[in-house]
């Protein structure tokens, strides 16, 4: 379970949010809402352990993030804005090398199958720079199928996706929740998911 108590985030002089507390139990998802620049991405980065909050603390399974970074990161799948795609590598290489650095070796077949499920069959060997924004996003989302992790933190996962991909992604998230996982998402649109918790910044 992910829990946050009395979190304050400060960027320079500006306080983005103050005294934020919530808990995210297993099988639940949390929507982080708020206008542009409200601090949604900053919150996600704090939750992922990439940056430190000005005040307050984040705990995962009752332990503070800093106590055991490796164990927390083994449980975490984080997809940020940029998502670490290399333009000069093919989608297949991007997936296998990226996951390889995290200590997972899904194998080329599994990676190709995941790409296929997101409608990218036939493009596995094409350099990523030839893919559209939506297709790049889908390559990233394939990580959700290939790397098991109980906690997903996804920054605007539905951006740039077409109807088919939105369907695949929401089914993935539903299955993740049904199997006891939890997820934190930001989005500006209404999400095609069963009702979850929400936090507004």
């Amino acid at each position: 379970m992910l829990s946050v108590s009395h979190l304050t985030c400060q960027r320079g002089e500006r306080v983005l949010f103050r005294d934020l507390s919530f808990a995210l139990p297993a099988s639940q998802w949390l929507q982080v809402a708020g206008s542009n620049g409200a601090g949604k991405t900053s919150l996600l980065r704090i939750l992922a352990g990439l940056s430190e909050p000005a005040e307050g603390q984040v705990t995962w399974k009752g332990r503070r993030l800093r106590e055991d970074r490796a164990a927390f990161h083994a449980d975490l799948l984080y997809l940020g804005h940029q998502g670490a795609l290399k333009e000069e590598l093919t989608p297949l290489e991007n997936l296998t090398l990226g996951l390889g650095m995290e200590g997972f070796s899904p194998g080329e077949e599994a990676a190709a199958e995941a790409l296929g499920r997101f409608g990218l069959q036939g493009r596995e060997q094409l350099p990523t720079r030839y893919l559209s924004a939506g297709q790049r996003r889908r390559v990233l989302l394939c990580r959700l199928m290939l790397r098991p992790a109980p906690l997903w933190i996804l920054d605007e996962p539905f951006t740039a996706l077409d109807v088919h991909a939105v369907g695949v992604l929401s089914r993935l998230i539903e299955r993740h929740l049904a199997s006891g996982g939890s997820a934190v998402l930001t989005s500006h649109q209404a999400m095609p998911l069963p009702p979850g918790l929400s936090v507004t910044l």
Partner: protein, 225 residues
């Protein structure tokens, strides 16, 4: 052993594959080295004694500058596209992944320099024994350049005008490697032993292998905040 170093090998493999897709960058650094070192005999003229004397220094300075050329791109692209973030969030030790990146940088920018150094040394009329010593000193010394350079690249990551700052920060730190590396050949020509120079170069390399990846990681975590 094998398992513990898996992230290191993965990072090396990934960066080498990326370098293979960016052949021009690799070739540019190597050509830069060849041209810089070639300009000196052209500028100084055919005075064999003088050329023989400046050869070690010329090759070493060429190696320093060639290393510097690739350093700016060691972390910047990975920072821009979020790869560094994913590395920092990996359950694998961040330091090992970064050590892998530094190793790949040396394989791509340092090793080619070491391999062409004997050829360029011939231009300076260096005798065979001096050529061997020079090449060996570069083999020990170029990893030091990559390791110290990585610290500088991490510290200047995301800073505007980082290229100039990086040079100002790093070049003074290269002085010990330059002195002992280039000095080894001169010591041999003067009839003094080379053991002292090589021992110091080796000690410097070991210290860098232990500390540089760790310091780089700390600097990168700050840059990612």
């Amino acid at each position: 052993m094998n398992g513990a170093f898996a992230p290191f090998r993965q990072a090396v493999r990934r960066d080498l594959l990326l370098a293979a897709r960016h052949k021009t960058e690799v070739i540019t650094a190597l050509f830069f080295f060849v041209i810089v070192v070639n300009l000196l005999p052209l500028g100084i003229g055919p005075d064999q004694d003088l050329l023989r004397k400046i050869a070690p220094g010329a090759l070493w300075i060429g190696a320093l500058l060639a290393t510097l050329l690739g350093l700016q791109r060691l972390f910047a692209p990975d920072h821009q596209d979020g790869t560094l973030e994913q590395m920092a969030l990996s359950p694998q030790p961040f330091t090992l992944l970064i050590a892998g990146k530094i190793m790949a940088h040396w394989l791509v920018s340092g090793l080619p320099v070491v391999m062409v150094a004997p050829l360029l040394g011939v231009q300076f009329d260096l005798p065979g024994r001096s050529l061997a010593i020079l090449t060996l000193s570069l083999l020990l010394g170029t990893p030091i350049l990559s390791l110290i350079g990585a610290v500088g690249a991490a510290l200047t990551l995301g800073v505007r005008g980082s290229g100039v700052l990086l040079s100002l920060l790093i070049l003074p730190l290269y002085i010990p490697a330059l002195i002992f590396g280039a000095g080894a050949v001169e010591a041999d020509l003067a009839g003094l032993g080379i053991e002292g120079h090589f021992s110091l170069l080796g000690a410097l390399l070991l210290a860098c292998i232990v500390f540089a990846p760790w310091v780089t990681t700390v600097a990168l975590r700050v840059a990612l905040e």
